[in-house]
Amino acid sequence: MSTNTVDRQTQSAPPARRRGATLTQRQGRWGLLFAAPATIHIALWTGLPVVVSIILSFTNYDMLNPPEFSGIDNYVTLANDPVFWKALGNNFIMAVVGIPISMLISLALAVMLNQGLRGNSIFRTAVFLPHVTATVAIAMIWLWIYSPGGNGLLNIVLGFFGLPNQAFLASPSQALPSVILVTIWQGIGLKMMIYLASLQGIDQQLYEAADIDGASAVQKFFRITIPMLKPVTFFILVTSIVGNFQTFDLIYNLTNGGPANSTTVITYQIYQTAFQQFRMGLATAQSVVLLVVLVVLTIISRKVTGGKDD
């Protein structure tokens, strides 16, 4: 009997040691429990569709009949499709031209507004307004501004200066720059607000120390402001790239990808392929390519902006 008691005590000793070790494990389990809803949510609504899309990209699927495995046919079709490459190229042009310009303008505006000028809030609201305005409404306004006839606002202005009418959205050579201008105008507001918030978070002691060292305004801007904005610049760059490659509603309402596919973008092509041509397999292959492009661009952005996003 006593032996048994000793045995039990002996056997119960290791759990006493484990109790100390399980504190971390317990925390880990609670962590898992708290993370479970978000994990399940992401797995179901993001992970699963991504996996299904990748699978569907290797099939012929028209929504009405069951998918048929087609190997890499869809990817071969994409590789040989000039319109797809045109769309991809347009996205790159919009990103390479539009994003840096809009970031520079946003930064300049944010620095100006950070000086505490009079009418600050009115100006801030005005710049932010395009971001919260429905894209359909924006497109309608810009359709009028760009109207190729004599009643378009820009052509009226050109006419005032004795310049000839321009086709803008009706011209294959002018349509994409015209669209880029709208994306810049539309995107400045949010970027400016983020820059402004970040500027206001920079420790003023840094500037005071620089003043004591005799640094000029330009030196302070390039040696303190810009480096301190690096994390937020990375954030803006990545979200702008992702947003740029997801541009759809503006193209849909402004140009329908035309004229002659001169303003088509990947998301518009995905829409056309999926919902106008019912080639879901091909459309998901386009989506997979878009996903890969975005991942690669995000990695490159990370490298370009210094490898830190915190």
């Binding site: 317990r26 389990r29 898992l32 429990l33 479970a36 809803p37 399940i40 179901l44 012929n60 929504m63 009405l64 319109v83 309608m140 359709l143 009028w144 109207s147 190729p148 006839g149 004599g150 009643n151 378009g152 009418n165 086709a167 009706a170 011209s171 294959p172 990808g257 035309g258 004229p259 002659a260 596919n261 088509t264 056309q272 999926a274 919902f275 106008q276 041509q277 019912f278 080639r279």
Partner: protein, 425 residues
Amino acid sequence: MTLRRRDFLAASGVSLSALALAACSGSGSGGGGGNGGGGGEISLLTPEFAGTTGKAALETGILDGFFEGTDYSYKVDYTDWTKLNEKLSTSVAGGLVADVIMPGAGWVEPFAHKGVLTELPESLLDGLPVNENLLAQCRYEGKLHALPYFVDGRICIYNRALFDAAGIAEVPTNLDDLREALKEVTPDGGVGIDLFSSNIRQTWSHLLGCYGGRLFNDDGTAVAFDDGSGLAALQYMLDLVADGTANFDVKGAEGQPRPWQQGQAAVDLLNSSLWPSFTEQSPELVTEDAMGMFLLPSAEAGGDPVMWTGGTLLTMSSRTQHADKVQELLSYMLEAEPLLTAVTESGKVPARTDIEDPVVTDNLMAQYTIDNFGYATAFEGGSPAWMEIRGLVAPELEAAVTGQKTAQQAIDALTAAAQDALSRV
């Protein structure tokens, strides 16, 4: 029994997964079935009757009159033409197809081929005063799958003052004459004819008809516009651009008056359903004294003029559980009074030719379209692959019109794309 944390975690995980799966399966199965008995709900999918007044016209003005006192109710899903295709396709994929669908010209073959639309009895046409030309777009493999509800014709309107000033008393009777006449009437800084405010694909297919061509062969399995007619139609457009009598840059923006209304075009190739907006925006221009009308003439001297016709059709889903009641509804919607309510709202041309109400008779464009039903042809469609092909047409035509491709290159590319689509049917 003690409840350990591990058990709790496992149970939570299983429960959440089950809950999520249950939620998924619940939403997927909700649309099946229907009441096959003496009552139920009939659903309609329409790209027409937009906005508050449109909804009131359809529901209060038309549907209430049919459903009142019956065991049936109705539900209307409103969309617009640009979204009808995806709405219809996704609803088919989701198993929630409306009982009554209102597609357009060219839609019957693709959706009948896919088994979405079902055949209608020919008896629905008994006593219905509808021109036979309007029924071509309603048939698939020779069988009736749709009824024409209201239509729109592509007609040319012209500014009489400009024609009078140029000394042109008679409207052109062939495309060569039209080309020459346009050179005479082109206003300064404007164009002779506004070819591009309307859908360029439809304009081209209209001209295709003028050259005696069509998009597909009889059974819709092969391209037919590669016989030279497609090239001739596109080349004609390029010739007008080269003459300076048509210009891709001169076209009306969304929601704004068209160039013809602004004096920038002598002739406008337009959709007859624009009458309400024209009478509202520029009533002084659309009187019989100020405006003349003609149909696009044939390419051949002495040939018949050509009227491109589109329209809104009434069709029945193959999955409906209430086929008899749906057919009754379709017949009712084509009765004179409900149809008049519909065309009053839409400004379009009733498919029936016996409506003498001022809404129709005072609409000069509608009346002209009705008077020319004998020349009406729906040039779009004709193949089960049409929905896939139609989105590919405009970019190729635009490339030619803007000088990026020759007409031959554009037609060759279009032919190849169409053949590729046809090969998948």
